[in-house]
Structure formats: structure tokens, C-alpha cells
């Protein structure tokens, strides 16, 4: 069993990062010019890392499968980014952000990494503002904040409902500056097909040009994987259609441990599934829970009347509504963390209170907020606070200014006006806390191979808090990896450029080409999507919001059988020398078909409930998740051994020096 050394620096928690930065090896500016780094993925983590590494002087090659780096799925993040600026003077601090993140992650993340994340969070905001990111401001010209789930302060910076796009455009602009200077060579519409190891070190990748189909070799002194999460293993998720696990899975197959694959975030507020044709699910930002109240009818007769279209939700009296989050969790109310809110919605819907035809939807209602804001505005403007029509109009204007684009998106998809009738929402797969195992330096268990952003596992434990994904992506890319990678590369200043005409590259390329031919020659009877949908159904039914031993064992068997059928019966049309989306997709689904089985195995092994991982066997009498700290305060890092069922478990014990591990309560 390979040993897992997390390389956490010694010393008090709050000094670890500063001390570590002061003592690690550096590469001189002249030598940085001699070193090549490959970055796979151009979301917040990949784009920020590429830009910063190039600014430092390294030669960077960046790869993305989209037609432009700006389209990576970080672009779709809506709500905001956390930072411990304490601009609101509401008692925020680095420690509090650190503590909230550890607690939010249900005590399953690595303390030292999370503290570092909280420390650098404030720099991110300074950096983004300097780049011209147009964050929301108040009338005094200063930055505005709002609140997100699982915390009691307002530390979230935002740019209406498209914070992700604005931050990614900031990182992309920093990349553009370096592309213009020739320090980044950008490979759009390229997919990483495999990692190449030379003497046990990551020394390059095999990539495929998705337009021409050409298989290419790229050498480098280090490879950074910033390819995002694997939520698409569920087929239906809020991820982009192209989001995939393949880069992470390829390095796993080459020796990188894969950590906590079963830690998945099911986001409580997404637009419900409308039919079998559904290709993806759309998120409604968590920021809506600042003002929206979640409820279902109290009486089952009202549920039936609503489903039959005989009753409209706006007609239901206050006392006939069950605001179940406010009822169960009075301290945090509608702003409980995502895992808690999702399970509570499932509990109500499973009990028969779902409000749409499928029985899988609850209301998110803005009527109270519209009246509250309307009265406030009427008061400010000296108008009649008792004029219901006026108050409603004024209140709707405020809500529009805060969430206008989200409301518009909802109306376009559902064809209902959320200013007049409550939104219908249901949980959907959104984010994966699990990912490639990395040490404190963000290096995987392969020397010279790094994983950053959602692709790694390190910061969010078993549940991520809202507005923390953007924070982690940019922290890793701007402020952590560019320093820690120098420690490794300091030994490479005399290596010279990496040759790609070697037996290692020959072998890796041959394996890639063989796999492509395997898909094209299969000529089976089912499309790639057929398998992806089947896999997604197994995952959602047996590895979704609630899991049990029997279901997980079945999932492992079912996924293995599906994978075997896929290799025999998949039908991939076209050739390998053209723009062939089906071929690209076949490779991605093949990797999901392995990951899915490991996911189930990991969930089966972890018999406790924690964060987004809910084992039915481990719950309190009130139905809350019950952790088992004695037996499971560790990271499950899996070593690849061919078949996912044969993967070997390595444990990284989690030690909490600064924080007392407690039962997580939001009541």
C-alpha cells in the first residue's frame, strides 16, 4: 500500500501557510523560462493557475475541450464568492470562515488546507477588483455582500446572478494577457486522453484535437489537472454537458489516489425534471434562499387539489402551509446548508407532499419578501404603505434588481411567472466534494502531477458551503499552486525540455489510439447516451440522496454489468479524423462507468452518515445524519487496481488541532 503523506507543515495552524511559503524551494526567474507546465482545464482554478504560472515566468500550455477557455463551467456559478473581509462588521474573521467551512463539511476535510483557504480568501477579492471584475456595489461605491447557507454572517461577494461568469472572465482576461505575450500556448477544443509517466514522474500528456481528431503528444515538467467535478456520472446534474471525470480518472489509473468519491452535493434548489427528454438540470441560486421561503402544504388534501390544478398555491392560507425548514431548524431556517435542505425536501416529498405531477417538487416563495421590500420602499419614498398594489409593485422591483436574471431563467424554462406564483424546486446533483487526493502542496500521489479546484478533494469535506467553490478554485489557482509547484520544480532546472519521441510516449499514444478504435469498431446497437442515461438512473436511485448497503451492493453489480455491455454493444458513428462528438463522449462515459462503481464501493464502505453522504442505517431518531467519528474520521483514498471493485483503500486520518469535533447542528 502506497503511503499517503499529506505533508502538512509543522507549527501552529495559523502560521503554517506563511511558514511553509517562507521555507519551500524557489525557482529563479531565469530558470522558470526553462520549465514547461501543462494545465488541463480553464475554469476558475485552471485559468487562474495558467495566468499566474505564466506571469511568474513558466512556459504554460493550457488545454480545454470547449471552443474557448471562457466557456468552462465555472462560468455558470450564480450566487457568489465567500471572503472573510468583514466589510459588514458583523463579526466575520478568517477563523470564522475556517470554522464554518470545517463544520459545513461535517468534519471530514483537512484542517490545514481549509485554514489556508480562509487566509487567502481576502486576497481573491482584492485581486478580482484590481482586474476589473464588476462586483455589486452599494450607493456609497463600496462592495456589497449577501448571506449564504450554513453561516451567520454576510460574507458573500456577488455580481448579480452571474458571479461565476464575471470571475471567470477576470481569470480569462489574465490568461489573455499572457497568451498575447506568448507565455501561454492555448489549445482550445483539445481533450486530455492520458497522462505520460517517465521514471515515475508526470512528464506530459496525450491530447486529442477534437476538430481534426489528431492525437498529439505534449511534454512538460509538471502536469496540473483542473478539470472540475464528476457530477455528470448521474447523467442529470447542473453540470455542463461536457463536464467529465476523464482527466482525473486517467491520472487515477496511472497511480493517483481518488479520494471520497461518494461525497456528492445534491443542491436543494433546482428546477424539477419535466420529462424523459431532459438533458440537464438548472440550478436556481442558493442566494434565493435569502428571500425565498420553502414550503409544502400541511394537508395532503391540499396537495392533491394543487396537483389536480383545482387549487393555486397562492390561495393557500398561511396556517395551511408547512415551512418545514423554519419548523425543523429555527436558528438557520431557510439558510441551512445544502445537504440538510435537500434531505428535508426529499423527506416531505417521500411523505407524499410534493406539489407537482411527479410528486418531486416543493415551493420557494417570494411573496413575503416582496411585501417586506415593498413596504420598506414605500416608507423610504413617503408613499402609502397600506396600498397593497403599490407595495407589491415596489417589492417586485427590488426582487427584480436582486434576482432578475434568475427569475427570467425560471420563467423561460417553466413557463410560469415566479413574481406571481411560487417557484417549484427540487434537489439535483450539483458538485462533487470528492476528487483526486492531493497533499498540502496540491500534488497528487504521482510526483509532478497536481490537482486543483473541484478536481481535488481537499477543502469541503462531506459537504460544501455555498459560494465556497469559486473561492477554492481561485485560491488554488492564484495563490497556492503557483508557490507550491516551485518546491517540486526546483529539482528540474537542469532537466531540459521533455522529449516526446520516447517509448513512454509511444506506449501512451498507442493505448489511446487502440481505445478509440475499439469504440469505432464496436458497431453495437446502443448509442453512448443510452448507457449514460442507464448509469445515471442507477446512481440516482441507489447512490443519491439516501443510500443503504443493499442498494449500494446492487449498484456495484449493475454498473459493472452495464460497463461490460457498453464495451460490447456501444454504437459510435463516424470516424476518428473529424469533429466527432459521439466519439469524445464515448471516452467520457467509459470513465464514468468505472468511477460510478468506485463511488458505490466508497459509499458502501463508509457506513456512517456525514454531510451529503446519508446512510439510512446511520441516523438519529429525528432522521438527522449520524456521524461515526470513532471509526470514520479519515479520508478514503482509493488506489487503482484495474477493476473498480478491486481498488485498495488507503486512509488519511484527519486530525483536528484547532477545532473541537462536535455534532453538527443547525437547529
Amino acid at each position: 500500500m502506497a503511503s499517503l503523506d499529506s505533508k502538512i507543515p509543522k507549527g501552529p495552524l495559523s502560521n503554517k501557510w506563511t511558514n511553509h511559503k517562507s521555507h519551500i524551494n524557489l525557482v529563479s526567474p531565469a530558470n522558470k523560462r526553462l520549465i514547461d507546465i501543462i494545465v488541463v482545464g480553464t475554469g476558475l482554478a485552471g485559468a487562474s493557475a495558467s495566468a499566474t504560472l505564466a506571469e511568474l515566468g513558466y512556459n504554460v500550455k493550457s488545454f480545454c475541450f470547449q471552443d474557448s477557455p471562457r466557456r468552462a463551467h465555472s462560468i455558470a456559478a450564480q450566487g457568489g464568492i465567500n471572503a472573510a473581509k468583514n466589510y459588514q462588521g458583523d463579526g466575520d474573521s478568517t477563523y470564522r470562515l475556517f470554522y464554518d467551512t470545517i463544520k459545513g463539511g461535517d468534519y471530514r476535510s483537512r484542517e490545514a488546507n481549509v485554514h489556508r483557504l480562509a487566509e487567502v480568501s481576502t486576497n481573491i477579492i482584492d485581486q478580482c477588483v484590481a482586474q476589473g471584475v464588476p462586483f455589486a456595489r452599494d450607493y456609497g461605491g463600496l462592495l456589497d455582500n449577501r448571506s449564504f447557507g450554513g453561516v451567520l454572517v454576510s460574507r458573500t461577494f456577488y455580481a448579480k446572478g452571474q458571479t461565476g461568469q464575471q470571475l471567470l472572465l477576470g481569470a480569462y482576461s489574465a490568461m489573455n494577457r499572457q497568451i498575447g505575450r506568448g507565455k501561454i500556448k492555448m489549445y482550445n477544443r483539445h481533450e486530455m486522453m492520458d497522462l505520460v509517466l517517465v521514471d515515475g514522474k508526470a512528464r506530459g500528456i496525450i491530447a486529442r484535437n477534437l476538430v481534426t481528431g489528431k492525437v498529439e503528444r505534449h511534454g512538460a515538467h509538471a502536469v496540473v489537472v483542473a478539470s472540475g467535478g464528476y457530477g455528470n456520472v448521474f447523467f442529470l446534474s447542473t453540470n455542463a454537458m461536457g463536464s467529465n471525470v476523464s482527466a482525473g480518472w486517467k491520472i487515477h489509473q496511472k497511480g493517483a489516489h481518488f479520494a471520497n468519491p461518494c461525497f456528492t452535493q445534491i443542491h436543494p434548489t433546482c428546477i424539477p425534471v419535466s420529462g424523459d427528454h431532459q438533458s440537464k438540470l438548472t440550478l436556481m441560486s442558493e442566494s434565493l434562499r435569502n428571500d425565498g421561503r420553502i414550503w409544502v402544504p400541511k394537508n395532503i388534501d391540499d396537495v392533491k387539489a394543487i396537483r389536480d390544478g383545482k387549487l393555486s398555491p397562492t390561495q393557500l392560507k398561511e396556517e395551511d402551509r408547512d415551512y418545514y425548514l423554519e419548523r425543523r431548524y429555527p436558528a438557520f431556517g431557510n439558510l441551512v446548508p445544502r445537504d440538510v435542505a435537500s434531505r428535508a425536501a426529499k423527506e416531505r416529498c417521500d411523505a407524499g407532499y410534493g406539489v407537482n405531477a411527479t410528486g418531486e417538487a416543493v415551493y420557494l416563495d417570494f411573496a413575503a419578501a416582496i411585501i417586506r421590500y415593498g413596504k420598506e420602499q414605500a416608507h423610504v419614498k413617503g408613499l402609502d404603505e397600506n396600498d397593497a398594489v403599490l407595495v407589491k409593485k415596489l417589492g417586485q422591483d427590488v426582487v427584480r434588481s436582486k434576482y432578475g436574471n434568475l427569475f427570467q431563467m425560471y420563467e423561460k424554462i417553466v413557463d410560469q411567472n415566479p413574481y406571481e406564483t411560487p417557484m417549484m424546486i427540487y434537489p439535483a446533483v450539483h458538485y462533487t466534494m470528492g476528487g483526486v487526493w492531493v497533499d498540502y502542496n496540491l500534488m497528487t500521489s504521482i510526483p509532478g502531477c497536481y490537482a486543483i479546484g473541484e478536481a481535488n478533494f481537499s477543502d469541503h469535506g462531506a459537504n460544501r458551503l455555498g459560494a465556497s467553490a469559486l473561492m477554492q478554485g481561485l485560491a488554488d489557482g492564484y495563490f497556492v499552486l503557483p508557490y507550491t509547484i516551485g518546491d517540486y520544480l526546483a529539482d528540474d532546472i537542469r532537466t531540459g525540455s521533455i522529449a516526446t519521441n520516447t517509448p513512454e510516449f509511444d506506449a501512451a499514444e498507442k493505448a489511446v489510439v487502440d481505445k478509440i478504435n475499439l469504440f469505432l469498431n464496436s458497431k453495437g446497437e446502443h448509442s453512448v447516451d443510452y448507457y449514460h442515461k442507464k448509469l445515471g438512473k442507477i446512481m440516482w436511485d441507489k447512490c443519491g440522496m439516501s443510500r443503504n448497503a443493499e442498494g449500494l451492493k446492487e449498484a456495484m453489480v449493475d454498473i459493472k454489468a452495464l460497463r461490460e455491455d457498453f464495451y460490447k454493444n456501444v454504437n459510435v458513428p463516424g470516424t476518428d479524423s473529424e469533429f466527432n462528438e459521439q466519439l469524445a463522449k464515448a471516452g467520457r462515459v467509459a470513465d464514468f462507468l468505472e468511477l460510478g462503481e468506485l463511488f458505490a464501493k466508497d459509499a458502501l464502505n463508509r457506513t456512517e452518515s456525514c454531510g451529503g453522504h446519508f446512510r439510512e442505517e446511520s441516523q438519529t431518531p429525528e432522521g438527522e445524519a449520524m456521524r461515526d467519528d470513532e471509526n470514520f474520521t479519515f479520508v478514503s483514498a482509493w488506489e487503482y487496481k484495474g477493476e473498480p471493485a478491486d481498488a485498495i483503500l488507503c486512509k488519511e486520518e484527519l486530525k483536528y488541532e484547532e477545532i473541537e469535533v462536535k455534532t453538527r447542528s443547525y437547529k
Binding site: 474557448s68 466557456r71 462560468i75 456609497g140 480569462y172 489574465a174 438533458s279 424554462i413 462528438e581
Partner: protein, 249 residues
């Protein structure tokens, strides 16, 4: 449920000639998005042994800017303030014939079928779409530069551009002025961007011309079809910036 006739542009790659091909499609639900309808068509084509229709798409929630279909003579189809992925089939009628083409412009060569190469937009931004600040984190505190809320809001409105290219596809001259002006405006309105404003506008406009985009003749079609409602005001602002920069030389 609806039955439709689709007329779709098929073209194997940038160097071959393309043509319109007709495909019938049945049982289309009004709740489907346009791209979900295309998924259903492709599934049918694959099962019949016909090459599926290539089209660009990714986030399917209207923000990545990747989807790019020219539907019944309009970029992103008949609805307003939506990308193709957010266009729903309820906007069409049973029995209708729908014509689907790629975004056409000399600067956007066809990759395959409905997918085009918009890397010209990237190159325009390499020329100046940034503030020259290093990502060291050693900048001043974010609240040291208060910004007038109206300017901040206008900069934000310009920054909402998703780079889809609908403006170019909608313009009879295939001009990229709305796109470039949105980028120039975002920075011109913010103090952080003012330092390099002169070089930025000159360099970005030069690159835009080099890429082969056409001239702006103020027809305003771009603004109408823009899924994010980017305003023509930005073009006026860029023209002022450009004039000022040229005079300043």
C-alpha cells in the same frame, strides 16, 4: 406533442461544400428545450446509421455562450433574451418547418454542420481585453477604490456579454462591433481600466479588422438579437474612445 420538419445545414468540415437536409421529427414535447429536441433527432439518426448533426453546446443554461444556431432566420431563434439552449419548443407550432443554420460570417468558419470556429473573439481579447495587473494578490484593498454605483452597474451590464457571436450572425455586414464595444466599455467605465484605455481600444479594433469582421452601419440588428440585451450605447462609447485614442495618438 408536436410533429415538425427540420431543415438543417449539413457540412462535413470547413473545406467541403454544405447543403440543407430535411428531417422529419415526431412527438416533440413543448417543454423540451431546442437542444433537447436536437438530442432526440440525433438519437434517431444514430439508430438509423446516419451521422448525427454536430452543434456546439455546453452549459445549457444560457451563460457559457457556446450554443449558436441560426433558427428561422434569427440568431438563437424567435424568442428574445435567450440563447438556443433556453429556447423552448413551446415557441413553435405543430406542423411547422424549422430552418436551422450555423452562425454565418467569414470570420467564423464552419467546423462541422452547425458548429463554427469563433476563436477570432479570443484573439481580439488577447490584443487588449484585460487590465495589466499581476495576480500576486498584493494589490490594494478592494474597498480602497469606491466606484460610482451607476458606473459599476453599466460596466456590469457590458460585462454580461457571453461571447456567443449572435451579434455577428445577425449583422448584414458580419460586424463584431457590439461584442468588441462591450469589452471596451466594461474597462473604460472602471477606474482600473482607464490607465490602458487608449492602447486597448486601438489594439482591439485593429485585431477586429484583421480578423475580417465587417463594418458597423448602425442597423441595430445586433442589439435586438443579443441574448443578454447588450446595448448599442456601448458602440457609441467605443467610437468615442477610439476617436479620443486616435487624436491622442
Amino acid at each position: 406533442m408536436m410533429n415538425l420538419t427540420l431543415k438543417i445545414w449539413r457540412q462535413a468540415n470547413a473545406t467541403t461544400k454544405g447543403k440543407m437536409v430535411t428531417y422529419p421529427i415526431e412527438n416533440v414535447s413543448p417543454d423540451m428545450s431546442f437542444l433537447e429536441m436536437m438530442d432526440v433527432l440525433n438519437e434517431q439518426l444514430i439508430n438509423k446509421g446516419i451521422d448525427p448533426v454536430a452543434f456546439d453546446h455546453d452549459c445549457r443554461e444560457g451563460i457559457c455562450g457556446m450554443c449558436s444556431m441560426y433558427i428561422n432566420g434569427e440568431a438563437h431563434g424567435p424568442d428574445r433574451f435567450v440563447t438556443t439552449c433556453q429556447l423552448h419548443m413551446r415557441k413553435f407550432k405543430d406542423g411547422e418547418t424549422i430552418t436551422i443554420e450555423p452562425f454565418r460570417a467569414n470570420a467564423f468558419p464552419v467546423v462541422k454542420d452547425l458548429a463554427v470556429d469563433r476563436s477570432a473573439f479570443d484573439r481580439i481579447q488577447h490584443a487588449g481585453g484585460f487590465v495589466s495587473v499581476n495576480t500576486s494578490g498584493n494589490t490594494q484593498d478592494a474597498n480602497n477604490i469606491p466606484i460610482d454605483k451607476h458606473d459599476a452597474d453599466k460596466a456590469f451590464d457590458a460585462a454580461t456579454c457571453i461571447g456567443c457571436g449572435a451579434c455577428v450572425a445577425s449583422c448584414k455586414n458580419a460586424s463584431a462591433m457590439l461584442f468588441v464595444s462591450a469589452k471596451v466599455s466594461q474597462y473604460a467605465l472602471l477606474p482600473q481600466g482607464k490607465v490602458e484605455a487608449t492602447d486597448r481600444v486601438l489594439n482591439m479594433v485593429k485585431q477586429m479588422d484583421d480578423e475580417g469582421f465587417g463594418n458597423c452601419t448602425n442597423t441595430g440588428a445586433c442589439e435586438v438579437e443579443c441574448p443578454k440585451g447588450i446595448s448599442l450605447e456601448n458602440i457609441a462609447r467605443m467610437n468615442r474612445e477610439y476617436l479620443f485614442a486616435t487624436v491622442k495618438g
